[in-house]
Amino acid sequence: MEHHHPTPDIWRLFRIWAGIGLQSFGGGASTTFLIRRAFTDKGGWITAEEMQQLWNLCVFTPGINLVALCILIGKRLGGATGVVLSLIGFLVPSATITCLLTAGFTIVEGIPAIQAMLRGVVPATGGVMLLVGLGFARPLAITTYKEGRVKLLLSAAVVAGCFVAIVVFKIAVVFVVLGAALLGILFFTPRRLAIPLEETKGEDHD
């Protein structure tokens, strides 16, 4: 049985989240790494298994998963105050810098050299975004592959259908997501109730 270190005081919590927010460049993977390092490896306040459980909850939540994780960790370590301070620490400094960068950009935007650089950077972010999409698709494809060719084709059809519905038919994204959720219930609800992988379900959260 593993004993947790006492929880950090909430100002420390705030500083840790501010540090994570300011140090995470280039997306989810680096941020997740920083969070694990701060709270599991260094702090020892949250075990690796607990972190995985918290993350599973975030995947169910709308919006940015990392923000949801910030909320859960804040609540676990500092209650309601912890939630507020963690959120402010994580988002306000990094959002302020993002905002100032954008403001700076609008000042230099007209310079031809900047426009030329932008014409290179914008399509490159498109390429990077394609990789983000592939990252999402990979685990799904692996799971579905095991379920047979029909399911794999159905999945590809749902993905393509969403793309066409939005780009060609300009259907509101909200309805596309709801439609895909319905199709998911129709096509992918397991016949037998499959018990999820985790065996460690005894402990209650909170």
């Binding site: 909320i71 960068l101 954008t102 650089m117 014409r119 950077v121 609800t189």
Partner: protein, 170 residues
């Protein structure tokens, strides 16, 4: 001309029906353009600046808020991406009950597939920017090729792309 309340609600809606930092883009793209509150070019610029600046990827919305509606827009955007995440507290309370339901697994699969399709539309809208030509598509392919190796840091890829842009378009 922008109605701040409606503007906020559009951002909130986009965030509520998204998962991950980018899947709110198509919804914002549809709504802001329909109202004439943003230009096509803002979206590519926002994603690019969002990649360069610190914080979670989803903060690209802050850039979009600033470009379309100044500091107020940025603040409203920040609020709109924060509020839906608070639902995790409700999820956390009810998770054990709903996770057992077989249909929840089907539903989550459907939503995940939608997210893949939505991310493809994000790629599409970025590469469909007004001044992206076939050379831009090559740059995108090059960036994806470098990125997929996993050995080149994102900021280096973007710096290289900026250099290529200077060479080709200046």
């Amino acid at each position: 001309m922008i109605n701040p309340f409606v503007y906020f609600l559009l951002f909130l809606k986009a965030s509520l029906f998204s998962t991950g930092g980018f899947s709110n883009l198509p919804s914002l793209h549809q709504d802001l353009l329909a109202n004439g509150w943003a230009k096509e070019g803002y979206f590519g610029q926002s994603i690019a600046i969002g990649q360069i600046s610190p914080g979670p990827n989803g903060l690209w919305v802050i850039c979009l808020g600033y470009l379309s509606y100044g500091y107020l827009g940025a603040a409203l955007a920040l609020l709109a991406i924060t509020l839906p995440a608070l639902l995790v507290l409700a999820v956390s309370a009810g998770y054990n009950r709903i996770e057992q339901q077989a249909w929840v697994q089907g539903l989550m699969r459907g939503v995940s597939l939608a997210v893949c399709g939505i991310l493809l539309t994000v790629v599409w809208s970025i590469l469909h920017q007004p001044n992206t030509d076939w050379k831009g598509w090559l740059i995108a392919a090059g960036a994806a090729g470098l990125g997929i190796t996993g050995k080149v840091h994102l900021l280096i890829i973007l710096a290289l792309a900026a250099g290529v842009g200077l060479l080709l378009y200046w």
